[in-house]
């Protein structure tokens, strides 16, 4: 009797599978585990994660790590996925010229234009001139309202800007009603004496004048040339309930189109394509280029630095010369990223065009042997590097009930989407494509303007719901869910993610519909695109119709909606497609590790 462990090191997770071989009988699977990969895939840093995975799996089986007789590592494909994002346009405002602002409770309605006047200097105002008065948070509504009421007889005050959240409070105490905007954080940046226009929309509507270039021109008396320059401001104010635009004659607002640069594809048919042609054109070029040897960007441009950064990142972790590191595939996706406007006053953002790129980096053979040696030292167990990843994955996937040869597997992991076809004679065709789970997270992060990756990662994984009362929430599909015990008031009115450990609040004030839309779009952009790309590469005659069944495996196949999205699309090609169920118990996980244990059947000598 001997115990064999199969270990699969992936971009994001390390998986283990433990099998027991007894003379004369087929392998008996004892347990499996999945932990986070430590370090970059294929480096000695992985050993730590492998140890954890093995310990966890052996504990589940009620055994000790020392009892393992043989460890089989996958010959990890020397490809590592990485992602980068670059914006193509950029709005710059110098001399701070706008506040596009959405306080929850502005007061009054309508638009007004006038000279900015600090409440502290209200005595200096001249009669007959229209003024927009602004007050810092040091003044309370009880102080502001009487001052304005008193000054209103003398001055023509047409609007107000407040720092504190007190617009309604002030408005209720005014004798002459004017539109008021509040919660302007950087009120100290408002220039006294400059012309400004403010607008508050009627309840349930959004602003009309300030989101229209000609509207701004009307209120601030701009000429044709100036109107052209304020167009980006109008664009970024669309959909707001209230806004302020300040005219600073020296101010300079422009939409910069950054030199995006060109991508060079080193392939049998070399191609150069400009990044700003858009993702679709880039992907067409990639498809037409044939087998790509390397991808580089025009030096000194955005894409140049972006691809260089990916390569450098890889050099640092794998300590190889840059020359040895090649990008063999890229996946480009168009996206819109909310970017903080340089020069904005209240932290406004503007949606800028951006391109997300995932790259497949090929290094030299990964030092798997080094990992094996280190493991042997630690565990005093024989460690072998066995089998090609894709073959092992196919072997494992075949344990899914209801599958047969020839079969295609689509391994959707964190860093790459791999496809393989095993034919009846046992030979395997395979491909590695750039872009998978991590690119989806990155797209979600940028499109929703999240500060870090973790919430994006969570949004990717779990459906969301809005807590509408303390006893019920509305799911993203529109259904209602009632709970016996009242929901924590901290979740009230918020969008939450429904995780297995209870709800998790999303900190950014994003509507549920937007989160759902961005999440689904990101998944479609990456996984639909890649599934077809990968399968077309491996399919006989590159025709999808020649594939009978597809088994989805890998981390992203666990996702609650990606397999369904793919299934829907594949139905059009009469392909049987579904999430794998390794060994009938594991779901889409553990395919490679299981394959590694299974492949030992053919090698053992104690039969």
């Amino acid at each position: 009797m001997s115990i064999v462990a199969g270990v699969d090191i992936g971009n994001s997770t390390t998986e283990a599978c433990i099998g027991e071989f007894t003379k004369g009988s087929p392998v008996r699977f004892l347990s499996s585990s999945s932990v986070t990969t430590t370090g970059t895939k294929g480096t000695v840093a992985n050993v730590h994660g492998i140890m954890t995975a093995l310990k966890e799996a052996m504990e589940k089986a009620g055994r000790n790590v020392e009892e393992i007789d043989l460890i089989r590592l996958n010959e990890a494909a020397p490809v590592i996925g990485d992602t980068a994002m670059e914006t193509l346009t950029e709005t710059i405002i110098t001399d701070s010229s706008m506040i596009g602002h959405n306080p929850s409770t502005p007061a009054g309605a309508g638009q007004a234009a006038g000279e900015l006047l600090d409440l502290d200097r209200i005595g200096q105002g001249t009669a007959g001139k229209p003024y927009i008065v602004f007050a810092s948070g040091q003044h309370t509504y009880e102080e502001i309202a009487p001052k304005i009421n008193e000054a209103a007889g003398r001055l023509n005050i047409v609007g107000m800007i407040l720092q504190a959240d007190e617009a309604v409070l002030v408005w209720n105490r005014l004798e002459k009603k004017i539109p008021i905007i509040d919660e302007v954080a950087r009120i100290d940046k408002l220039p006294n004496g400059k012309m400004a226009a403010i607008e508050v929309a009627l309840p349930g509507q959004s602003i009309r004048m300030l989101s229209n270039p000609y509207g701004i021109a009307t209120l601030l008396h701009l000429d044709a040339a100036e109107t052209r320059t304020i167009t980006p401001i109008a664009k970024s104010l669309i959909g707001n309930r209230s806004a302020v635009v300040i005219r600073t004659p020296n101010g300079d607002i422009r939409e910069n189109v950054l030199p995006a640069g060109e991508i060079y594809l080193d392939a049998p048919k070399p191609v150069r394509i400009a990044l700003d042609e858009g993702a679709e054109k880039i992907m067409e070029a990639v498809a037409a280029a044939g087998e790509i040897r390397d991808v580089t960007g025009q030096p000194g441009t955005n894409v140049g630095t972006m691809l260089e950064r990916i390569k450098n990142g890889m050099t640092e972790v794998s300590r190889e010369e840059t020359g040895e590191i090649r990008i063999t595939d890229i996946l480009a996706v168009d996206t819109l990223a909310p970017v903080l406007i340089s020069g904005a006053l209240a932290g406004e953002t503007c949606l800028e065009k951006a391109v997300g790129i995932a790259a497949m980096v090929r290094t030299q053979q990964l030092p798997m042997r080094k990992i094996a040696e280190r493991l042997e030292e630690l565990l005093h167990t024989k460690v072998v590097v066995a089998g090609v990843e894709a073959v092992m994955a196919s072997l494992g996937a075949l344990t899914t009930p209801g599958t047969q040869l020839p079969m295609a597997i689509l391994d959707m992991g964190g860093g790459s989407t791999d496809a393989a076809i095993i034919h009846e004679d046992g030979h395997v065709t395979l491909t590695h494509q750039a872009g998978a789970g991590e690119l989806v997270s990155m797209l979600i992060q940028t499109e929703l303007g999240l500060k870090n990756r973790l919430p994006a990662e969570m949004i990717k994984r779990y459906p969301c719901a809005k807590v509408e009362s303390l006893f019920h929430m509305r799911m993203e599909d529109g259904s209602m869910h009632f709970v016996q015990e009242s929901i924590d008031p901290r979740f009230f009115g918020r969008v939450v993610l429904l995780t297995e450990n209870g709800p998790v609040r999303i900190e950014s004030p994003l509507p549920m519909e937007r989160i759902r839309e961005v999440r689904r779009e990101a998944k479609k952009k990456v996984f639909l695109m890649n599934a077809f790309r990968a399968l077309r590469t491996v399919a006989p005659d590159h025709n999808l119709k020649n594939i009978g069944n597809v088994v989805l495996v890998g981390g992203s196949a666990i996702d609650f909606e990606i397999p369904e999205m793919l299934m829907e699309e594949f139905t059009n090609y009469r392909i049987v497609c579904g999430r794998g169920n390794i060994r009938g118990t594991e779901g889409p996980r553990n395919a490679v590790a299981t394959g590694l244990v299974l492949s030992y059947t053919g090698e053992r000598d104690d039969r």
């Binding site: 959240d165 309604v168 409070l169 209720n172 009362s469 303390l470 008031p489 009230f492 009115g493 918020r494």
Partner: protein, 126 residues
């Protein structure tokens, strides 16, 4: 001619609502500054409120009863320097928020939150 008040009582069927839907604030010897800030918080959110003096000293009890009696199901109890926010349906003592000696900012937020709860907006927490 003197007009006599006419009362409509909500009955079964579609009786007209003649009472303003408002947040109830039940008080017992309330700190006037705290009360002012709470009211300002509600006013800023544009919701009506009514203040009643009660005989109970327990802030939990005051909040619970205020929420129970308010047509909007949102109530605040303010007893001296203890302030609690309740919503109808929650058991007594299980307040949405409760403070002993709150800051003015916390009072303002408490008022805002009693209104935001009705508007189904997320509560202000800081």
């Amino acid at each position: 001619m003197r007009l006599r008040p006419v009362w409509f009582f909500p009955t079964r069927g579609n009786a007209m609502i003649v009472k303003k839907p408002s947040i109830f604030i039940y008080t017992y010897d309330p700190d006037p500054d705290f009360l002012r800030e709470i009211l300002a918080g509600i006013e800023e959110e544009g919701v009506f409120s009514e203040v009643f003096a009660r005989n109970t000293e327990n802030a939990d009890r005051l909040a619970f009863e205020a929420a129970r009696d308010s047509m909007l199901g949102s109530g605040i109890g303010l007893s001296g320097v203890d302030a609690a926010l309740q919503m109808r349906g929650l058991p007594e003592g299980r307040n949405v928020e409760k403070y002993h000696m709150p800051t003015y900012g916390e009072c303002r937020n408490l008022g805002s939150n009693s209104a935001r709860a009705i508007k189904k907006l997320g509560l202000k927490l800081d």
